[in-house]
Homo-oligomer: 92 residues x 2
DNA sequence: CAACATTTGTTCGTATGTATC
DNA sequence: CGATACATACGAACAAATGTT
């Protein structure tokens, strides 16, 4: 099981875990780990990966949805919003 | 002479208990009992540990916050300020 | 159609912390 | 030193929609 590229959650830190996770996910999106209009890992997966409660994961996602970085499709998944800021490649 | 770094509170001493506690906590921080950006024990814990009223504990914390040794994050905890002056290890 | 797995939506209970009175 | 309020986090369970076989 590989640990996360971005580091783990620090429960003793001043920043609440859900804020930490929101930052981590935002960084991974910016880095291109997940492409626009594609689903990020499921809540259950993120729970496993970061050792957090599902409520905490959902809260982090809610932050990014509020920021316009992600959008949720019920019963389908959570996706990276396309027009956040993607360097459009001049015709590939 | 400063109060014992690890001694208990002396209610008969000239120095008020909240000042004694502030000194004790400052000493423990200097000693590295709690790392920068990490939470110190909760107020309730300190109440238990030193046999003081919460108001007294909060007063001691307020002193250290005022001195720039600690900072409080509402609903999260009280944390050791990172740039207070951590003795950088003389080369390990 | 049925059965199953996956995923988000929702709600309840419990615990810990600080804030305030 | 109580009592209450609020924010945060964990755990569990169930519902609903979707996709697959």
């Amino acid at each position: 099981m590989e640990p996360d590229p971005d580091g783990d959650i620090d429960h003793g830190a001043p920043l609440p875990p859900y804020r930490q996770l929101a930052g981590i996910l935002a960084a991974r999106i910016r880095r291109g780990d997940w492409q626009p209009n594609r689903a990020i890992p499921s809540e259950a997966h993120l729970v496993q990966e970061y050792g957090l409660a599902r409520a905490t994961v959902r809260r982090a996602i809610a932050v990014l949805v509020d920021q316009g970085v992600l959008f949720v499709v019920p019963q389908r998944g959570t996706f990276v919003k396309p027009d956040s800021e993607q360097p459009s490649m001049p015709n590939a």
